[in-house]
Structures are given as C-alpha cells and as structure tokens.
C-alpha cells in the first residue's frame, strides 16, 4: 500500500467548480432560492478551511500546551454559540451555559482518549488533540442543541401536566423529570443510531480521511471505534449537563412555570 497522500494541485482543486455548477444548476432549474446560499457557502468553505489549514500548521509546529488549550476553548465557545442559535423553541438562551456543558463534556471524553487510549508524546500533542476534540465538539454541539430544543418544546406542550404535578406538591424537578429524560434521549438518539449502522451505510468521514491519507484500513477502523465511543460519551454528558443547568430557568422563584412557557411560541 502506498502510504503517502496524493496531493491535490490548485488546478485540480479548481475543477470543484464543476461540482458547484451541478448543485447550482439544479437549484436554479427548480427555483429553490438556494443559489445565494450555495455561492456564499462555497466561498466560506474555501476561505475558512484555507485559513484553518494555515492555523493548524502553525499550531502543530509550536505544539504549545497553552496554545492547544486556548484553541480548544475557543472552539467550544464557537460551538456553544452555534448550538444556541439552532434552537427555535428556546428564547434568549445564555451561551455561557451551553459553553460550560460543552467544555465539561469535551474535556472529559477528550482527555480519556488522548491520555489513556492514544497517548501521544507529549500527551497534549496538537496533531492528535485538536482533531479529536474537534470531532467530539461537532457532535456534542448537535446533541445539546437537540436536547435543549426538545426540553423547551416538550415543557411547552406539557405545561398543563407539569402544572398539575406542581399542584400535587411536586418540586420543579419532579414535575419535569420525565420531560428531562425525553430531552436527553432526543440529544443522544442520533449518536446511538449511528453506532448501529456505522460501516454498513456509510464510511465515517474520519476513517475515509485516514484511508485516503494512506493508512491501513485496519488501523483506521480502530481509530474510528475510539472516535465513535468517545463521541457517544461526550454527547451523553453534554446533554445531561446542559438540561440539568437549563430546567430551572423554566421555573420562577415560587417554583411555578415561567409565563413564557405558557404562551405561544414567539
């Protein structure tokens, strides 16, 4: 097996225009109104990834512990902002709570993987840590967004039942416990489902990348197993922490439901 990656030249990269034209052609033929988004998305993909490429080269070369921590923390922050934006049922959610839950869950799962399982030298080796944490974050971000949105929409639709429980002398936690369970489940389900079908329906991006990069598929598979399980652990903790931090915001000081929950969605 050839163990070196086949480089893509600038000219070859330019041929991706063909791919954009196909998607653009379909979009304008059917008047999907997606052309603007497609062009803008293409430009962003080129610019963002090119910049990230240069940044990664710099980070990998310096391989400084604090720089690695700073980069991961920044990634958590951006992921938190994105997660909060993706929750149509949740008005004015503080980014800091999403940030805390991402930080805790990502560092927990990421540290287990880098310190115990992959153990590079040094253990904070940027070439390993940054992509590993990045993969965890991407998935956990989606998970917590789903959980948070489900928590709010479910509490809204079950407001009458929750209030009835309160009239029985239930604490806010007792009144929303089953709803919280639903919300955590909603966040974890896509990840659990992907555990079921991985390799059968699609080859995961990371594994594909390693194989294209010339790695032995058997090694790539081992990495992929670690990655899948670490994502599952991180999504579970992230959802649990976030929902745990959030449910109290639905209640006032008297332990009754906030009025916005009882009104229509704005």
């Amino acid at each position: 097996m050839d163990s070196s990656i086949i480089p893509i030249s600038n000219l070859q990269l330019a041929f991706t225009v063909l791919l954009v034209l196909i998607a653009g052609g379909i979009s304008s033929f059917l008047r999907l109104g997606l052309l603007g988004a497609l062009v803008w998305g293409t430009v962003r993909t080129f610019v963002q990834l090119t910049l990230v490429g240069y940044a990664l080269v710099y980070i990998f070369r310096s391989n400084n512990f604090w720089l690695v921590v700073a980069v991961i923390t920044l990634m958590c922050y951006v992921a938190a902002k994105t997660a909060v934006k993706r929750t149509p049922n949740v008005p004015d959610y503080p980014t800091v709570l999403a940030f805390l839950s991402l930080l805790a869950s990502t560092y927990l799962a990421g540290s287990i993987v880098t310190v115990l399982i992959i153990s590079p030298d040094p253990w904070y080796s940027a070439r390993i840590v940054v992509p590993i944490f990045g993969m965890i974050l991407g998935n956990t971000m989606n998970g917590i967004a789903l959980s948070l949105d489900r928590l709010y929409s479910e509490v809204r639709s079950r407001a009458a039942e929750i209030e009835a429980r309160l009239t029985f002398g239930a604490t806010p936690w007792e009144a929303v416990r089953s709803t919280v369970r639903e919300a955590v489940r909603a966040g974890m389900t896509p990840t659990i489902n992907s555990l079921m079908v991985v390799g059968l329906v699609s080859l995961p991006g990371m594994m594909t990348g390693q194989i294209l990069g010339g790695a032995d598929p058997r090694d790539a598979v081992r990495y992929q197993i670690v990655v899948m399980l670490m994502i599952t652990a991180a999504v579970a903790t992230g959802c649990l922490i976030l929902v745990g931090l959030s449910y109290q915001k639905l209640f006032n000081r008297d332990g009754a439901l906030q009025s916005f929950v009882l009104q229509s969605r704005k």
């Binding site: 009458a160 039942e161 209030e163 009835a164 429980r165 309160l166 009239t167 029985f168 002398g169 239930a170 604490t171 007792e174 006032n252 000081r253 008297d254 332990g255 009754a256 439901l257 009025s259």
Partner: protein, 214 residues
C-alpha cells in the same frame, strides 16, 4: 381565619391593561364563591392563590401564616388548585388517582388509599365496573371533571381552589358532586374557594361571595 388574602393586585389583558384588586377570606367549613362575568379574572385569581403565577402586590395567609414564609411547593400541596380544564395523565383511572403520591410533599406523609378512592368514586357516581382500569384519556368531560375532583380530595389539602368544577356535570352528578364537597368540608380545618357561573351554591352549607367586576 383558615385562609385569607388581602388586597391581591394583578393585571389582565394586553394593550388595555386592567388592574384587579381583591380581598377575601374563608373560615373552616366554608366556601368562598367567586363570581364575575367571563374574562373578569376568576381563573387568574385562583392561579395566583395557588402560586402558579405571580401577582403585582398583596399577600395571602394560610392559618395565619403568610405565603412569604412558606415555600411554593409546600403551599401548593396545602392550597390545591383544580384547573378549569381537567388535566389527566397517560394511564388508567387508578394511575391518575395514585399519581400525586409520587410528589415530594406527599411522599412519606400520605399514601395512596385505594379504598378511600373507591368510596369517593362511588359517591360521585363513578362506580361502573372496570372504571379504575379504564384509560383516563378516554373519559367523558363529566367523568374527567369528577375524577380530578376525587384526586384533589385524595391529595388532602386544607384549601381547595375549584375552577368551575361542576360546569360539565348534569343535574344528578352535579348534586352528587356538591354532596361530596359538603361532606369533605365537614371535617375540621378545610375550606374551598369555588368559581361558579351558576346558582349552584344553593347546594352548599355555609358560603360567602366574592364578586369580581369586569
């Protein structure tokens, strides 16, 4: 006085806000009948008394203790609100009757007493065979109203806040309902605040009126 509230102020409506200020009291064994046209703010008053929503000002007292001194969770198990629309949970009629006993305030202090539940159901004309095993989501409007009332009695509060509890009931079941309520009030340390549109209070023993004008 078992239960009283002084100068409770709350506002209603959107653009043209209307402020309501009310005071009232009930002694043990008594019913305070809240009257007023539709939209006057009767349900809102009951929700405020149950501390399910905040008010602008004023204070309520249970056995002389201000609601400022009592945590919301404890208050609500003593001043128990039954909503205008009956709320039933997934499961059977029996499940619904037992559900309150999962909550912190009742756990330990009170346990679900199936025999007492059966007595209430029978008095409320709900003793048809298999009723306890019926899916609660399939009940008729009048059955649901009587079921949530029986559940409220099992919760065992000091004060019942009932929001038009007899509205979906016909003559016979309405009489049965008021019979059970009067019987419940006979024990000491119990009172009710009742929202009612119709002249039902003739079934009650001791009662007074609180009129809210729109």
């Amino acid at each position: 006085m078992l239960f009283n509230f002084n100068n409770l102020r709350y506002s209603l409506g959107m653009e043209r806000k209307r402020e309501v200020a009310v005071s009232g009291s009930v002694a043990g064994g008594e019913v305070l009948v809240v009257r007023g046209p539709s939209g006057a703010g009767k349900s809102t008053l009951l929700r405020i008394l149950a501390r399910l929503q905040p008010c602008i000002g004023g204070e309520a007292f249970l056995k002389g203790r201000s609601w400022r001194e009592i945590p919301g969770t404890e208050w609500r198990s003593e001043v128990h609100y039954v909503a205008q629309k009956p709320v039933l949970f997934d499961g059977t009629v029996a499940d619904n009757l037992a559900l309150p006993f999962e909550s912190r305030m009742l756990r330990g202090k009170k346990t679900f007493d199936l025999e007492r539940a059966k007595v209430y159901l029978e008095k409320l004309l709900l003793s048809q065979p298999g009723f306890l095993r019926q899916d609660a989501r399939t009940l008729s409007g009048g059955e649901a109203a009587r079921l949530v009332f029986a559940r409220a009695l099992l919760v065992g509060p000091s004060v019942l806040l009932l929001d038009e509890p007899a509205a979906p009931l016909d003559g016979k079941s309405r009489e049965a309902f008021y019979g059970v309520l009067s019987g419940w009030l006979n024990a000491s340390g119990r009172a009710a605040v009742l929202v009612s549109h119709d002249g039902d209070y003739k079934y009650l023993g001791r009662f007074s009126f609180l009129d809210i004008t729109a």
